[in-house]
Structures are given as C-alpha cells and as structure tokens.
C-alpha cells in the first residue's frame, strides 16, 4: 500500500481513496478474526453444553483484557514484546528468511540485559540504560547473525538452524542463570537484581525520574531526535515541501522544530509532570518500552520501504536471482536482515527483564512463549509494521484476558490458541472466508506471499 501511494506523483491521492484502501485492507483480517471467535464460541458451546458459559467466557476475556483493574495496561505490557518480536519476524520474512529463532534471541537479549544491568553500579541512567539495551540488541544480533551467515555462505536452511539455536540458547541461559551469573545471595535461581539505573522506567515513575537533570537530558535527546526525524520526513512530503519552497531553508525548520521540542522537554516537562501526571498507580507495570516499541515499528517501516537497504532486503526476499543480477550482495543482505531481526528480539528480551519482571532479573526456566506467537502475529499482519502493532495488541489483550476468562467461566485459556490459529488460517487462506461468506473474491489478485517461492538463496 505504501509502495503504491509512494509511486503516485504529487498530492493526487484523495483521503477518500486512502480510507477505502484502508477499509479494504482491514476488512478481510477483521472478518477472519470475527469468524475465528464465532468458531471458538461454537467449540465452547459444544464442549460445555451451555450458552451461558460462552457469554461468561467472552465477557471474562474482554473485561480481563480491558476493564479489570490494570487490565488495559497489563494488555499493553504483553503487547510490547509481541510488537518487537513480530517486527523481528517480519524483517526476516521480507528478506525471504523464516526466523523461528526469535524466542532464543529474546532469551539471549534477556540474559545479556540482566548481566549488564547488574554488572555496573553507580552509572547514571542516561548511560546505563542505553548501554544495557544496546548490548542486549547486539547479543541478539550476533545470535541471529550466525544462522544468517551460515545460510548465506553455506546454504544451511535458516528454519532448522534457528530452531537449533533456540534450543542452544535455552540451555545456555539456563546454564548461565543457574551457574556463572547466579545471584549467590538469593535462594531462587536467578541473576542478581539489576541496578536501578538500568531499569526501564515504568510510566508511574517518570515524574520522579525527570527531576534528575541527567535523566531529563536523556529524554530530551531521545524526543528531540524523534522530532528531528519527524520534521524531516514531513518536509520530505510533497505538500509541505511546496509550501516551504523559497521561504526558509529546510534545515532550519527541522532543527528549529527539534530545538523547540528539546526546550519543552528539558525545561517544561519535569515541573509539568510533577504537577500533573495521569499514571499514578505504583503497581502499574506499564513502562516506556511501549514508546520504544511504537518507535521501532515506525523505524522498521521506514527502513523497509524508504531506504536503499530496505529495498535491497525486499528484493532479496522477493527474488534472490534478480537481486544477484542487479549486483546486490546477497550474503550481506541476508546477514544484515537476520542481525536486525535478532537485535529487535534481543532488545525486547532486555526490556522484559528490566521493565516487567518483579526482581528486575532473569529467572531460570523462563519460557515466555512470546516468540512463537510472534510468528503468528507477523503472518496475521502480513508483515506490515502497523498491522503488527494492531495484531500485537489483539494477541496481548487475549493473552492477558485469558486468565480472568478461565477464572470466571471455567473455560480453559487454551481456547485462545485455537482462536488465534483459526484467525491465522483464515487470513492466510482468504478463499476459505470468501466461500463462507460468499464474498466475491478478487480474481488475479497478486498473491502477497510472505515467503517467496524462490527460497533457496545461492551465493
């Protein structure tokens, strides 16, 4: 979609056509999800024999996910790793790589994050937190880069190597957490609690954190960089560029916008947040990882559709032979794609350890299950970064609401997996849905194969 809108010159696209496009794109997945829920209801009806338990189950699911105490924020907490991991899967898919290893890369990121988090004491958060997250992302990138390199160099199929790397990373983290970096003072098998400077801030702690000028500086740099990128991107779009033509240099506008945001963040936000802040519940686990996740999805979209590297990655994914004849370095692109994928997964692992876990440490036998769901999410969203945000929220709220559903109605929470699988099935085979609802299928629709049919990359 973004490709086609980009290809059209000038501001010809009316908002109506964008809306209709959006509606068209969304209607099929929505119908699929709805159908999956209906079939789930039928399954509950058949196995329990009463219509009441169907209502109880879905009512529990919805209230657990949104309306219960801290329901919505817990749903968002589960959404955060889903976004990162399914972005990781999507970057792989777009390059024609099936990265099943995100769960393992997530684990590696978590253990690296836990290690760096507790290794340094007394560093200011402005250095420690980015350092920890960067190390975790690097760890994930290296861990995923190995299968990428092997794929590109020797043709070892990434599906199998990443699965194998998954098991190696499970054992490795288990060994590290129970042996070399175990907390000697704790009876539980876990790493030492990380320093407070490495914690990913919960939303309720932001006002207090901002009182430290160094922290405020960190936030200022982050937001100003975002503002700068946003302004550059806005000016790059045709409408605004024409409006600015001849008046003021683009550079001044972008820098000026970033400077205004920076000044606001540094001088006004700390006192303002102290005076008024909407998130005051200290037990609320929602953390700034959500902002990172949203930024990451925009960045992945920008990377894949707006940069040369992204173009190369997509070309390698769509047709490796064409990419090779066009002079693209397939080895490099495959390794880079896997490294980006692993970096996203490792980042998510560190955020989970430093933001969500109660002890701010990595515990042994921690299998999140996020990684495998993320594959389904990426497929459900057809690898569109913004679709991924929506699908992640769906999966996150279902994961969160399932507990209350089981408690309220006695319907096992595994029904969620059934519904998710059916939704994925209906999205990936639209002909089934079309035949159920007698929708007229669009003939000769370009098959948006998530994995290319030319999967064998020969270097």
């Amino acid at each position: 979609m973004s490709e086609s809108s980009n290809a059209l010159p000038g501001p010809k696209i009316s908002t109506e056509s964008i809306l209709r496009q959006l509606l068209k794109a969304i209607s099929a997945p929505l119908l699929a999800i709805l159908t999956a829920f209906i079939i789930g209801a039928l399954v509950i009806l058949i196995t329990s024999g009463s219509l009441l338990s169907v209502f109880q189950a879905y009512q529990g699911l919805i209230s657990g996910a949104f309306f219960a105490e801290r329901g919505l924020s817990e749903s968002l907490v589960a959404t955060i790793p889903y976004i990162f991991l399914s972005l990781a899967v999507a970057v792989g898919f777009k390059t024609g790589l099936f990265n099943i290893g995100v769960e393992g890369q997530f684990d590696i990121g978590a253990v690296v994050g836990a290690f760096i988090g507790q290794a340094f004491r007394g560093l200011p958060a402005i250095i420690h937190l980015p350092l920890t997250l960067a190390c975790a992302a690097l760890g994930g990138a290296i861990w995923a880069g190995i299968p990428g390199y092997l794929k590109a160099r020797t043709g070892a199929h990434e599906v199998i190597t990443t699965i194998m790397m998954n098991y190696v990373s499970f054992r490795l983290t288990e060994y590290l957490v129970s042996g070399p970096i175990k907390d000697p003072n704790s009876s539980a098998v876990q790493t030492p609690a990380s320093a407070e400077s490495a914690w990913v801030w919960s939303l309720s702690s932001i006002p207090q954190r901002l009182q430290d000028p160094l922290n405020a500086l960190g936030v200022t740099i982050f937001l100003a960089a975002l503002a700068y990128l946003f302004a550059r991107w806005m000016i790059g779009r045709t409408n605004l560029k024409e409006r600015l033509k001849g008046s003021s240099p683009k550079r001044m506008v972008t820098l000026g916008f970033a400077a205004i945001v920076a000044l606001f963040t540094f001088f006004i936000l700390p006192p303002l947040s102290k005076a008024y802040w909407p998130f005051n519940d200290p037990y609320d686990r929602l953390h700034i990882g959500l902002i990172f996740a949203l930024v990451a999805s925009v960045l992945v979209w920008w990377l894949l559709w707006k940069t040369t590297l992204g173009f190369e990655l997509r070309t390698v994914g769509a047709n490796p032979n064409a990419a090779r004849y066009a002079g693209m370095n397939i080895t490099r692109n495959v390794v880079v794609a896997m490294a980006i994928s692993g970096a996203l997964a490792g980042f998510a692992g560190a955020i989970e350890v430093l933001g969500v876990s109660a002890c701010h440490c990595q515990q042994v036998f921690y299998v999140s299950g996020y990684g495998f769901d993320a594959i389904a999410i990426a497929l459900l969203a057809k690898n569109n970064p913004f679709g991924i945000v929506a699908a992640s929220f769906l999966f996150g709220s279902m994961r969160n609401g399932a507990d209350l559903m089981e408690l309220n109605s006695g319907v096992s929470k595994y029904i969620i997996s059934l519904i998710q699988a059916l939704a994925l099935l209906f999205v990936s085979a639209p002909a089934i849905i079309n035949s159920i609802y007698r929708r007229r299928g669009r003939k000769n629709q370009r098959k948006d194969a998530t994995l290319t049919h030319q999967r064998e990359v020969k270097s």
């Binding site: 199998i160 699965i163 098991y167």
Partner: protein, 366 residues
C-alpha cells in the same frame, strides 16, 4: 558470489550427493567420540551393562524423532513442507492417551483386564493416527487447494493443536481419572533378543520402536525402488514435468501427506503409549522440529534420517548417564551438543544437503 565459488560448490554437490556411507562413517565416528568422552568424563565408571543400557535408551529416545523425520521426508519428497509435525504429534499423544484411558474403562466391562489393556492400546494407536491424518488433510487442503504458503499452514497446525489439546486436557483430562492400562510392555523378540550385544539394544524394545525400524527400511524401499516412489520424488522435484507425463500431482501430494501423517501419528502416540502414561501440553518438547533436523541431516533419505535421530537420542541418553555418575557437571552443556552438531552438519561438513526442488511451491495446472 563469483563464478569460481559457484563452480566449486557445483562440483562438491556431485561428489558427495547421496553418499550415504559418508553419513554412516560420520555417525560411527560420532558414536566413538561420544563414548570416549563419556568414559573420560565419568572416569571409566560405565561398564558394559551401562554402555548397553545407554544404547538401548538411545534407540528408545530416537523413536519419536525418527517418526517425525520420516513424516517430514514423505511430505517434502512430494513437495509439501510440513512444519506442523510438532502439532500433529501433540494431538496424537493427547488422543492416544484419552482413547487408551477411556477405551480401557469401557472394554474391561466386556473382556478381561489384560485383553482390554492390549486392545485399548492398539485402539489408541489407531485413534492417534486418525487425528494426525485429519490435521494432515487440513495442511494438504490449505496448501494444495488454497495454495497458501505451506509454512503458514504448518504454523497454523502447531498453534491449533496446542489449543485443542490444551483445551480438551483442561476440560476433561486434568482431573481425578480412573487408572488406565498403562504403556506398552517391553516385548523381547524371541531368539533375536538373546544375541549378545545387539539383542538387548535392538530387540528388547517396545513395539513402536520395532515399527519405526521396519518403517525406515520400508519407506527407503518404497521411495527409491518402486514406481510409486519415483512418482512422489518427481512430483517433489519437478511437478510440471511429472504432470506432463500423466502423474496426478495433486493426488500424489495428498497421498504423501496422508501417509506422512500416519507416521506422525505413530510418533505422537509414542509419547503417551510408550514413554510415560501421562499427558501434558508441553509433552512433545520440540521433538517434531528436531525430527526435521534429523531429516535434513539424513539428506531426505530414511536411513540417514534414522542416523540423525539416533544422534539426538544418543545425546539425550549420554547426558542422562553422565548426570547419574557426575551430578556436579551442569547437564545443560552436554544437552547443547546435538543441536550444535546439527548446525555444523547443516553447514556442509559432510556435504551440502539439497531439499527437493519444488518444496514449498504450490502447483498450478496449466
């Protein structure tokens, strides 16, 4: 990238392709290294009985992996990638467990307890197979008729069967149930089981292990020495050419997936009818995926797949032996070894493995 490397790899392909004896030599070497390491680690405490016990355990543990590998092999030889084996096996494990338990309760009111146990166990095997065939047909229809990406189809099956088994388990099986008939007993094969070393290792096993060994030979014969096998392989390599020669590509693929699913069903019921008499939703523990690795290890050949499965089984059983004698060694390190070994093998230490050419490509008739 350059033509020279390309040429080198092409040459390598012809040298080592299908060289099964390389795999055998490699496996023998691995076995030797494994026992050398084992004896070094546990300081010679493993006597003959212990070695034989470890090897017997190896074959036992290799059984589900080999079944999974054979499933993947049958499907992929016809051009259908099946990564839903994990889910299929989980489903068969659950169905097998339930049918064994409830069938026994029902049957023992008519016939004696022993006969009811035997009958319900075999009924459970067939019920498990039936469940995997249904899942396999789902994969086949989705990927052959609707031409969806086969990896997506497999992922759907994995999540779906996790959902179904977990749901049914929580609703019906996770409560106080009457005792079931238990798992299959060990059936020593008369005569053969008294051969000194091979007897206890190979011929003092439970029935599904024997079925696995027979199936390996049978599928090797079927795939490479019968017209049917030639058809399946041609459909997997070049469906258009096969179609031109009058082979029904769709039907061949359907049949292969169903046959593969039958094998997956055997692998699934192994968990609840041969290994342990309980079911839990994490029971298959990734063995379906490891089976795919064993299949690639064996270069899409049944014998090679068996060797790959045996290496994984050996890794697990050696780890168990080591942890008995040396509890101070962290068990995670030896547990990693089979996975690392697979990665090394995949990277071409014993020659590159080439999947069937038409794998994961939906076929459209012209």
């Amino acid at each position: 990238m350059s033509t020279s490397t390309h040429g080198r790899k092409e040459g390598k392909r012809y040298n080592l392709r299908g060289a099964w004896w390389v795999s055998v030599l490699f496996a023998a070497f691995a076995l030797w290294v494994a026992f050398w390491l084992l004896n070094w680690v546990i300081q010679g405490k493993c006597d003959d009985r212990c070695v034989i016990g470890t090897l017997q355990q190896t074959f036992r543990l290799a059984t589900p992996i080999a079944f999974a590998a054979l499933t993947g092999l049958l499907c992929e030889r016809s051009g259908i990638v099946n990564i839903g084996i994990e889910g299929q096996m989980l489903m068969a494990a659950m169905v097998g467990y339930a049918v064994n338990l409830f069938g026994f309760q029902y049957l023992k009111t008519f016939i004696g307890v022993n006969a009811a146990g035997d009958l319900s166990r075999w009924l459970a095997v067939f019920a498990g197979i039936l469940s995997t065939v249904i899942l396999g047909l789902l994969l086949a229809v989705v990927s052959i008729k609707y031409k969806t990406d086969q990896i997506i189809g497999g992922t759907v099956i994995n999540i779906l069967s996790l959902g179904i088994t977990g749901y049914l388990y929580r609703q019906f099986l996770a409560q106080n149930l009457p005792p079931g008939p238990g798992t299959f007993p060990i059936i020593p094969i008369p005569g053969l089981s008294s051969i000194p070393i091979i007897g206890p290792i190979l011929f003092t096993q439970k029935p599904l292990t024997y079925i696995m060994l027979i199936l390996v030979v049978f599928i090797q014969y079927m795939l490479f020495f019968t017209p049917w096998g030639l058809r399946v392989r041609s459909v997997g390599e070049h469906p258009r050419a096969a179609d031109t020669l009058g082979i029904n590509v769709f039907m061949t693929r359907y049949i292969s997936v169903v046959l593969g699913s039958i094998v997956a069903g055997l692998g699934g019921v192994w968990f609840t009818l041969e290994a342990v008499d309980v079911f839990n939703p994490q029971m298959t523990n990734g063995l379906g995926f490891i089976g795919l690795a064993a299949m690639i290890f064996g270069k899409w050949n049944p014998f090679g797949a068996l060797i790959g499965a045996l290496i994984f089984g050996l890794g697990t059983s050696v780890t168990a032996t080591v942890s008995i004698f040396r509890p101070d060694i962290p068990s995670q390190i030896p547990q990693m070894l089979p996975y690392i070994l697979t990665i090394i093998v995949l990277t071409g230490v014993i020659g590159r493995a080439f999947p069937p050419a038409a794998e994961n490509q939906p076929y459209e008739k012209q």
